[in-house]
């Protein structure tokens, strides 16, 4: 790697971590000076990285230390507030599902009380809430799943801001048009003509292919902005991301189109963060995995277990959320 390569990667990593612009500029300037010092004393850039850390590590450490990241009373109270609201919704209105969405208040409070606010994270939770609420009330899990495509243009390509704007507008219009079209035609093509089915499939391809291609091009899907194809690790990461995201999406579409399992089939998407947690940690950390495992158990048991006298088993399956603190305490105490 060259000095410029290192500094470019560092800049991108700092931008990804949403570090303040003035700090980014000063950090780049300082690293440029330190690299010059290292090179002048006969050290290679690789030795420098070994000593001073990879761009990603540095950016993460700087982001962690930034002022404004605070844990206030609201964040501390949010688990209790969420639990109370969940029980009120469940016991008063039998709305255990989707009342469990109140638990999302915990991460959302965390996002809203940290500075700068991670808008991308907030968008994902907003989409998830809209997806579950509208899906539950209308059963239109398809085409609602396509709302998640709105996340793609949030990962921006730094080299071409105009294209970002076009992609953002295109994606939002495309998803809206798709929804209107599918909802409008959807009622008639159930058991309808081949022409309507063809229209539906063509529309999907026309509308979504550019979004997916843009996602691959700008790196938000493969999570890498400048692919260094000579580096085997980059290729391996790219293939892993592609297989994982592609595989899970295809799996979800198969569950949805094949068996109508749009809900709770969406749970397969939780495989993605779980895999990243598993490969990101040298040791198996059940604490990190538990929120996902608990959600999967909660929804599956709530949806499919039959309890006499109860419309659903959500009134019982909430206990799985208790696994999160229990496993955390057990693992911490080891």
């Amino acid at each position: 790697m060259t000095k410029e390569g290192f500094l470019n990667q560092l800049r991108e990593a700092l931008e990804d971590e949403e570090v303040k612009k003035s700090i980014i500029e000063e950090t780049i300037q300082e690293y440029a000076s330190m690299i010059d010092d290292a090179l002048e004393s006969g050290e290679s850039i690789e030795v420098f990285i070994k000593k001073m850390g990879t761009p990603k590590k540095v950016a993460k450490a700087l982001a962690k230390d930034r002022p404004g990241r605070r844990s206030n009373r609201l964040t501390a109270l949010s688990p209790f507030i969420a639990t109370i609201l969940f029980f009120l919704a469940g016991s008063l209105f039998q709305a255990w599902h989707p009342g469990w969405l109140f638990f999302l208040l915990i991460p959302i409070t965390g996002i809203l009380t940290s500075k700068p606010i991670q808008w991308r994270g907030l968008l994902i939770f907003t989409i998830l809430i809209v997806f579950i609420l509208v899906g539950t009330s209308t059963n239109l899990w398809n085409p609602l799943w396509s709302l998640f495509l709105l996340v793609i243009p949030q990962s921006q390509n730094k080299k071409n801001p105009n294209l970002n704007r076009v992609a953002m507008v295109y994606t939002y219009i495309a998803v809206a048009v798709y929804h209107v079209a599918v909802i409008y035609f959807g009622f008639s093509f159930v058991g309808g003509s081949q022409e309507l089915r063809n229209l539906y499939l063509t529309l999907s391809l026309l509308v979504f292919l550019p979004i997916l291609l843009y996602g691959f091009w700008n790196g938000s899907i493969q999570n890498i902005l400048d692919l260094d194809w000579k580096n085997p690790k980059t290729v391996k990461d790219f293939l892993l991301n592609l297989t994982l995201v592609g595989g899970v999406t295809i799996g979800y579409l198969v569950l949805g189109f094949g068996w109508g399992l749009w809900h709770p089939g969406w749970l397969v998407f939780l495989i993605i963060p779980m895999v990243y947690i598993l490969i990101g940690n040298k040791r198996l950390s059940l604490t990190g995995l538990m929120p996902f495992i608990a959600t999967i158990l909660f929804v599956l048991v709530g949806e499919y277990l039959a309890i006499p006298g109860q419309a659903s088993a959500y009134s019982l399956s909430w206990v799985f959320f208790l696994l999160i603190p229990i496993v955390g305490i057990l693992e911490k105490g080891r």
């Binding site: 000076s33 010092d37 001073m52 850390g53 590590k57 230390d65």
Partner: protein
């Protein structure tokens, strides 16, 4: 059993490094130093530390008012950011030194059964 022993020793060393990092950095910066030179001085003193967090640490100590960083453009060489202790940094260093020395003495006593 060996695995557990190694794990415990590694954990002990890690905690020691983490706990003494600020003291080490402040001690070196008694004499104003630029970033990479600071790393060299720590290496020369044969003190092991997680150096990949050195720069973020410098920034944190600067934002806490313990260090002051100034771009040195007076010398003939390239501009470099030189870090030195502020009054608060000096006073913290002095307090930390006392604690370290006292703690070290106490530990010495207990491990040597004096």
């Amino acid at each position: 059993m060996d695995h557990l022993k190694t794990e415990l020793i590694e954990g002990f060393e890690r905690e020691l490094r983490r706990g003494s990092l600020v003291l080490v950095v402040l001690s070196v910066l008694v004499e104003p130093t630029h970033g990479y030179d600071l790393l060299r001085k720590i290496e020369q003193a044969k003190i092991e530390m997680d150096t990949d967090t050195l720069y973020p640490l410098l920034r944190r100590l600067e934002s806490q008012g313990l260090l002051e960083g100034k771009w040195d453009i007076s010398s003939n060489t390239r501009p470099r950011k030189v870090y030195g202790l502020t009054a608060l940094g000096k006073s913290l260093l002095s307090a930390m030194k006392k604690i370290w020395q006292q703690y070290g003495k106490n530990i010495e006593r207990i491990i040597n059964h004096d």
